[in-house]
Symmetry: C2
Subunit: 267 residues, 2 copies
């Protein structure tokens, strides 16, 4: 059973997990150092706890308590009850979705365990925008992809903005970081996946052709700015494009991922 704790000072040290949510750099280092992440909004907080993440604490204004009553009842973590003005003062923005929770990160699973039983996966190289990472997870979940593997420099799926755009699917789609960028694609090939890089290369074929009839597929996606590294592009066993209308060379990475996942899911 949760303990409700009313707090009326913005300087209360128990609010440390919730400070300055708009300061991306500060949050990144604080969340890594403390091993926490933040969930925002009733639906997302619920999904995080349902996925088995352990709450460190909750923070909300009184009017949000009822909506999460069952989640709070099932938790041992404290719930800090604050005014909306104080929540805004601490977090640095108007928390219009109401409830926040700070949850403990878990150790990342091994690549092997994430791939176990998977038939369609995404490999993200250096996608640095949290919105894009979130949108890609939502596509993966909606279009039946089984797992997501992230290169070391890819943005964090458990960052608040990623979680929100992903509608919490970062909790349900298995994912991990690739410990080894250099040999990532050969590792996937050894595990029986055909690696298909989405890239504007001279030998790229239509994505429908590239995935047709394949069993296990890893779609390989590069960064928003300069696309895939040459190393990953050449290491992939196939290169594919989404055919574009004259004069336009590409879609944004989330839109391209949606189309590529859709096509691959119907291979």
């Amino acid at each position: 059973m949760v303990t409700l704790v009313e707090i009326d000072s913005p300087d209360d040290p128990r609010l440390a997990d919730y400070r300055d949510l708009r300061d991306v750099e500060l949050r990144k280092s604080l969340e890594a150092a403390e091993g926490l992440f933040l969930a925002e909004g009733e639906k997302v907080v619920r999904r995080a706890t349902e996925a088995g993440f352990a709450p460190r604490s909750f923070l909300m204004a009184p009017r949000w308590l009822d909506g999460l009553a069952d989640v709070l009842a099932a938790s041992e973590a404290p719930c800090y009850v604050v005014s909306e003005a104080l929540a805004e003062q601490v977090t640095g923005f108007h928390v219009h979705r109401g409830a926040l929770a700070s949850l403990a990160r878990r150790p990342l699973p091994t690549v092997e365990s994430v791939l176990s039983g998977a038939r369609s996966i995404l490999m993200l190289e250096d996608i640095v925008d949290h919105t894009n990472v979130g949108a890609i997870f939502r596509c993966a979940a909606g279009l039946g992809f089984d797992a997501v593997l992230l290169a070391p420099r890819c943005a964090d799926p458990l960052y608040r903005r990623s979680i929100k755009v992903a509608m919490g699917t970062v909790f349900s789609v298995p994912w991990t970081r690739l410990p080894d960028w250099y040999d990532a694609l050969p590792t996937l090939e050894s595990a029986g996946f055909t690696t298909v890089a989405l890239t504007l290369s001279a030998d790229s074929t239509d994505i429908e052709e590239a995935v047709r009839g394949l069993d296990k597929v890893a779609l390989v996606l590069g960064s928003e700015g300069h696309g895939l590294s040459e190393h990953w592009e050449r290491a992939a066993s196939r290169r594919a494009i989404i055919p574009m209308h004259a004069g336009i060379d590409s879609l944004n990475v989330a839109a391209a991922t949606a189309v590529a996942c859709y096509v691959t899911s119907r291979r």
Copy 2:
């Protein structure tokens, strides 16, 4: 030939078009009142002028002058040359793409002229997020859609953020506002388009089935939050979904648009 004008005071009234670019509400009213829009970055500024929009002025630090020399040479508008610090002070952010231009809006074309010769179009109801509007235009352009029609409350394609996310495709894809929300869909049907609403309705069919073999198609898309109004949903002659994996009900609107445009472009 452009006139280069060095400006060193942030209060110079000639910089009025460029003030407070991060204040969305202020910008919306200023840009509507003055009949202007802003383009940001060499590529986008170039595309705007190539599309025939008349510059009111340019604003840039000296190091960006060379890259746009040809555009500036072809223009009669003044180019305000400022330090990067002054640009930041006036606009309210670090202009890392360098060049800005203020351009004159043009009267919106009629619906009839936008539809002339079109075979695949998008109708956006109340998509209020500039990023989504921009991403949708980029999809439309890349996947060969001929025009975009916007309901009265849809976000502005010429807002700086929309233009940027669209990579300037808002200048090349014909678009206009629907003057009449209520009868918009019957108007399209009268013009020979089958209206296909993307929506989770009891009678929605798979998008591939819904568009198969159709000649002129209008894909109808609703807002990010609550989807289509019931009026537009029922006014459409067909309702369609992108089949989703168990437990996930939808993609975000830009991803869904990408998939729907892709499928429709191959009907």
